[in-house]
């Protein structure tokens, strides 16, 4: 695999390419969760949403022949799961963290159930844009084959950053997250705001799932997601609920996750499983460094149960 012309550069290049490829699901889930958490609710069920999104995208892409319809289906599935989460959470005395855990189990179970017949067939995959056309080196070209969804995610992050600060909707979501009393006093229904925020969050997480099954790794099987969804939820916490920081954190995570396969491609196979666990270890390390028992996190929505 190692090309003589670039030699050891293969590893950083593969990590770079991998960062872009692997970060996309992290990016979409964390942006979605960012919206949900800013409204004052946490949805741990996005792990299940991610897997359901991957399954429905693959199924619809296979049946319709259009991967973009698959992406849409994944988003709609995610939004429906988000609505379920928000619906149950709006009942009195129901704990949003517990509901998230339940939907995590429910979403993965349902995806495995419905996705059983989809393991065999091959669905049309999402196209990639070749940014590496200028290079003769195969690895460079491979690293620069970038999916449109990644670009959408990259554009979405600053838009969300701007929307939270300046638009009416952004302000409403933040008000619901900081003080539900204030939102209520202004005449808005907190539950309705959170319902929409959770549905949009689920929509984005579903799209993140479609990337898994339709681009990279690009097939549907039951081992497709192993904790990317929950890692992305943790990522939002140390990204301080800031969409731009979510983008950088996702890229760092993608790079960490790409390290194992990159090293394997140059023949370093010992410790393969440990390198695969790099994103989780990185998450733990960053949470240990950035959290503190003495103060609540800066930027944390005051209504969020997880930071209280």
């Amino acid at each position: 695999m190692a090309d003589g012309t670039i030699g050891l550069w293969t590893v950083p290049l593969a990590v770079f390419g991998g960062a872009i490829r692997v970060s996309t699901p992290f990016l979409f889930v964390s942006l979605g969760e960012c919206i949900t958490e800013r409204s004052g609710r946490i949805n741990l069920g996005l792990e299940g949403t991610l897997v359901m999104g991957a399954m429905s995208a693959y199924g619809i892409s296979y049946l319709s022949g259009s991967p973009w319809l698959g992406v849409l289906a994944a988003g709609v599935t995610g939004a429906l799961l988000g609505a379920l989460h928000a619906g149950i959470c709006s009942l009195p005395r129901v704990n949003d963290i517990a509901v998230g855990i339940a939907l995590m189990l429910f979403g993965t179970g349902l995806a495995f159930y419905l996705g059983k017949p989809l393991i065999e067939p091959t669905a049309p995959r999402l196209p990639a844009i070749d940014f590496g056309w200028w290079s003769d080196v195969a690895q460079v070209r491979a690293a620069l084959r970038i999916n449109v969804l990644f670009l959408i995610g990259v554009v979405l992050a600053p838009i969300l950053y701007w929307a939270f600060r300046t638009t009416r909707w952004g302000l409403l979501i933040r008000t619901a997250g900081e003080s539900s009393d204030a939102a209520r006093a202004m005449g808005y229904s907190v539950l309705a705001i959170r319902l929409r925020a959770t549905m949009v969050g689920g929509f984005l997480a579903g799209i993140g799932g479609s990337f898994l099954s339709l681009f990279y790794p690009g097939s549907w099987n039951e081992g497709l997601s192993s904790g990317q969804g929950i890692t992305a939820v943790a990522l939002v916490i140390f990204a301080r609920w800031d969409p731009m920081l979510c983008l950088w954190a996702s890229l760092a995570f993608g790079g960490a996750a790409a390290l194992g396969p990159a090293l394997q491609s140059v023949g370093v196979t010992s410790g393969y499983h440990l390198f695969n666990a790099a994103p989780y270890i990185l998450t733990m390390a960053i949470m240990i460094i950035t959290c503190s028992p003495k103060r609540t996190l800066t930027g944390a929505p005051a209504e969020l149960s997880i930071t209280r």
Binding site: T108, G109, Y113, I237, L274, M287, S292
Partner: protein, 369 residues
């Protein structure tokens, strides 16, 4: 079961002049059985509709579920064998819940417990079996205990959310297991499925006489009863419940909350680690990726369905063990995918949580306090 808590609440609210009828006195405790029971039945109904959408008869479904779970002595044994690790992993969620912590990393503690127990047995090959088994129990409990204590310590001393960290630790535990099983601890003879060497037939803990159910069930029941006594009938448990109700109050009366968190998390992890030891020493005989069978995750559901009460965990674990035992029959007779058990568990979980809204709202149980 939780009656002493409920009674205490009732006693405080009933006016002395009133003549409390049975419902008024026990309405609170009846709720704890009636509401989860209703949620369970509703979930089974929803699952029946779900299965009917795929053209299978719900009546067949219920019949085969009953057959596969509790229909014959054979299926009872299968059910109880699966209930054993579920009791232990459920305690991993239920014990920290007394402190108001949500730990969902039982699966990780189970895997680490299995690894440490297996490692101990392999090192002690020449020792008498009873000594090996005892050492395995200790090693499994210490391994799993330290694993969850890590999540508890991070919460106490670094403010790291324990729900997320304990789940991340599951994936890290799985990576460590795969790494060791394919490297340092690998049995060269295991080609297709990398595994450790067998712990040896003499060191297996065997079955309860007259049954095919292994001793792990007894471990589980003893652990659940011990947890119940610890939580509801000792000063330590009382302190834990005080801290779980109000951390500020606990600090004011001088409780060392940090010590409580670390001890409870250790016990919780030790319980799940024991489940790992049991799976190795009673079922698998060695450690490999098969151990990540999801007992840790089903245990979370068991704990919530039992409302975090250690004694209630025993029947609930048997019920959920029955559901998973019936999975095989559903696959063979109805052609349902193996994930159908997971779907049903998810529906039950959602239904049980949604039913939390009903407490104190059922007209005929409310009475006039």
């Amino acid at each position: 079961m939780t009656s002493d808590v409920a009674d205490a609440v009732d006693a405080a609210t009933i006016s002395p002049a009133a003549d409390p009828g049975f419902l008024q006195r026990h309405g609170g405790s009846i709720e704890y059985i009636l509401i989860p029971g209703a949620a369970l039945i509703a979930a089974l109904g929803v699952f029946g509709i779900f299965v009917a959408l795929f053209g299978k008869s719900p009546l067949d479904l219920y019949f085969y579920m009953y057959q596969g779970a509790f229909g014959t002595w054979f299926s009872w044994q299968n059910t109880l064998t699966r209930a054993a690790p579920l009791i232990l992993t459920a305690l991993c969620t239920a014990l920290p819940a007394q402190l108001g912590m949500v730990i969902i990393g039982g699966e990780g503690a189970l895997l680490i417990g299995a690894l440490t127990a297996t490692g101990t047995a392999l090192v002690m090959q020449s020792a008498p079996p009873l000594a090996v088994q005892f050492a395995m129990v200790c090693a499994g409990m210490v391994g799993g205990g330290l694993w969850i204590m890590l999540a508890g310590g991070l919460r106490q001393y670094r403010g790291v959310n324990e729900t997320i960290s304990s789940l991340l630790l599951v994936y890290i535990a799985l990576a460590i297991l795969n790494h060791l099983v394919e490297g340092l601890m690998r049995d060269p003879a295991s080609l297709n499925k990398p595994s450790t060497r067998e712990i040896g037939a003499a060191n297996m803990i065997g079955s309860i006489p007259g049954t095919d159910v292994h001793w792990g069930l007894v471990f589980g029941v003893v652990a659940a009863i011990a947890s119940y006594i610890l939580i509801y009938h000792t000063v330590f448990g009382f302190a834990a419940r005080v801290a779980g109700g109000n951390v500020r109050a606990a600090k004011i009366v001088g409780l060392s909350v940090g010590k409580l968190i670390l001890t409870i998390c250790f016990l919780a992890g030790a319980s799940a680690g024991l489940a790992g030891m049991v799976e190795v020493a009673a079922v698998q005989g060695r450690t490999n990726a098969n151990l990540a069978a999801g007992y840790g995750f089903t245990g979370i559901l068991v704990a919530f369905l039992a409302r975090q009460n250690p004694l209630a965990i025993i029947p609930v674990a048997i019920l959920l063990g029955g559901i998973s035992a019936s999975g095989g029959l559903l696959q063979r007779r109805l052609g349902l995918p193996d994930a159908s058990v997971q779907v049903l568990q998810g529906i039950i979980f959602v239904a049980v949580l949604a039913s939390d809204a009903l407490y104190g709202r059922i007209g005929f149980l409310k009475g006039k306090y």
